[in-house]
């Protein structure tokens, strides 16, 4: 047993990719599979540097399809396995993720969003929301945490491993190129000192005993002979997902009780929203802040409560309405006007949101 990668806790000043690598090591992740794509590369770079010190393994695969399927193989064999990707890589990754959905494999994927569609930019966007929440040829049976700060990137990467292994749904940490490359302080820690109990991994294949003699063989499939078989299987999965959703959904909000305008955003844009709303409130304006931390499942109850009380909701995102669509589906029936501030593939700064709210208040 190698020593713990992080003793106790300490302040660190890191890039987001470095944060993810540290968090994965702290989460007792044992093996990473990956394929190079900007802006997530340094996750692999830091992981491979730390790997020999802490008995961790890595395989650079031939593409993201293989990275995802080898990750599936890793968890089948009973290790906490993960991968990281972005953009066109995320597109390819959806195939193995859909197998993980069907077989309920606890794989963890870090996505650092870049511009889209196609190769677009290597820099930044929030355009992988559709893909990450609902990619593949299914219904999106997965859990997606959208982080805003390096502290959250660390906290939620740890949480993602626990969520995945506790509930057995593929779990994502949805970051972006800004988070990947920027540097800011955070506290990194050994989960144990924070009282976080790590859910242990377990084997799907290769359990002790002779199959057919000492135990039934594990036989997993993702294709069924009859439509009724599939319907029954999916019925159970949807029921499971619905049951656990309230335990998993998370949000952050303030000032929404009597707000005329509620600003909503997710991920890094929520930082801009938060500081803009604070400034607006300091001026005595009735503006609130609402941010889903989980994009799948969404915190539907809180969202509906908040949206139904507001006069207007400003939706800010670095995409052309992908987040907005999720919100509207959850808010169906609520007549509060939803005003867009969409900047696909481009950052949204505090000033942008501040100015937009001022215009809305003036109109």
């Amino acid at each position: 047993m190698s020593e713990k990668p992080i003793q106790g806790e300490r302040r660190a000043f890191l890039t987001g990719n470095e944060v993810v690598a540290w968090a994965a090591v702290a989460s007792e992740a044992e093996i990473m599979f990956g394929y190079p794509i900007t802006p997530q590369n340094e996750i692999m770079h830091y992981w491979t540097r730390m790997a020999p010190k802490f008995n961790k393994r890595f395989l650079q695969t031939e593409d993201e399809i293989s990275a995802g399927f080898t990750t599936n193989g890793g968890v089948l064999a009973g290790l906490k396995a993960f991968t990281a990707t972005s953009g066109p890589g995320n597109t390819l990754m959806q195939e193995p993720i859909s197998m993980a959905e069907m077989m309920r494999l606890p794989i963890v994927t870090i996505v650092q969003q870049r511009g889209g569609p196609s190769s677009a930019t290597v820099i930044y966007s929030q355009q992988e929301v559709n893909l990450t929440t609902h990619g593949g040829n299914g219904e999106g049976l997965r859990i997606v945490y959208s982080t805003a700060t390096h502290q959250e990137l660390f906290d939620y990467t740890i949480k993602a491993f626990n969520t995945a292994w506790k509930y057995r749904f593929p779990t994502f940490v949805l970051g972006d190129g800004y988070q990947a490359k920027m540097r800011e302080p955070l506290t990194i820690y050994d989960p144990e000192v924070r009282g976080i109990e790590m859910v242990p991994a377990y084997k799907f294949v290769g359990k002790p005993g002779k199959p057919g003699v000492d135990r039934p063989p594990t036989q997993l499939r993702n294709i069924f002979n009859m439509e009724e078989e599939l319907f029954e299987e999916l019925g159970e999965q949807f029921a499971d997902f619905e049951k656990i959703s309230p335990q998993i959904a998370e949000c952050e909000q303030f000032g929404c009780e009597n707000a005329e305008i509620v600003v909503t955003a997710h991920g890094i844009v929520a930082r801009a929203a938060k500081s803009a709303v604070k400034d607006l409130r300091e001026r005595g304006l009735k503006v609130g802040y609402f941010r889903p931390i989980t994009l799948r499942p969404l915190p539907v109850k809180e969202l509906r409560d908040t949206f139904s009380r507001a006069q207007k909701v400003l939706v800010a995102e670095s995409a052309n309405g992908q987040f907005d669509q999720l919100l509207k589906y959850a808010a169906y029936g609520i007549t509060t006007e939803m005003v867009p501030l969409f900047k696909p593939g481009v950052g949204i700064n505090s000033e942008d949101i501040y100015d937009k709210v001022m215009t809305m208040l003036a109109s």
Binding site: P39, I123, T149, M182, S350, E351
Partner: protein, 188 residues
């Protein structure tokens, strides 16, 4: 807006704006402040203008980039053109005296425009190697966002290994930062 010092620095690849930005941010972190540093990266980085964004505050920092900086530094003609968008009525705009720019190329709306002879000083008085440290001094002097001691400690941390081998380098770097601070504080 909450009090956050916003710094944008731009130059050509090799002028060292990213290292300086990182050292400033690291110094702020060491002083226990909230800080955020983000480079521009990607295709633009290869052969384009390199820009670094740094924000320092006592409170949590919002978006990683900003529309208007408190101090904007441009170290090449192209960098001047590229950074005009970050200049506003609160901005101190700093550029090097060696640049071939006319008054029309410079921002019209800045609070203050400072021309500093960093290239000349680095060539004639110190060493071209410490050009970016003079710039760092200028930023520290103009913003007061980190202490001079903090800045020197951060340089020591970054370049300590080199200083062990060549102790003269330490002196050179520290002179450079002092000269940089002088340039902006004496410019009034």
């Amino acid at each position: 807006m909450s009090k956050v010092i916003k710094i944008a620095m731009a130059g050509e690849g090799g002028q060292g704006v990213q290292s300086v930005a990182e050292i400033i941010a690291a110094a702020a972190n060491d002083e226990g402040k909230e800080c955020l540093y983000i480079p521009n990266f990607g295709v633009e980085q290869r052969g384009g203008v390199s820009i670094a964004f740094v924000q320092i505050s006592d409170e949590a920092i919002g978006a990683p980039k900003f529309n208007t900086g408190d101090i904007v530094v441009a170290l090449s003609e192209r960098a001047v053109a590229r950074t005009l968008q970050y200049v506003g009525p609160q901005t101190t705009f700093v550029y090097d005296a060696s640049l071939n720019v006319s008054a029309e190329d410079l921002p019209k709306n800045a609070k203050r425009i400072l021309e500093i002879p960093a290239v000349e000083i680095s060539k004639n008085e110190l060493s071209p190697r410490v050009f970016n440290i003079i710039i760092m001094g200028a930023v520290v002097g103009a913003t007061g966002v980190i202490s001079v001691e903090g800045a020197k400690l951060a340089i020591e941390k970054q370049l300590g290994a080199k200083f062990e081998k060549q102790p003269k380098l330490r002196e050179l770097n520290f002179s450079a930062i002092d000269r940089g601070i002088d340039l902006v504080t004496k410019a009034g």
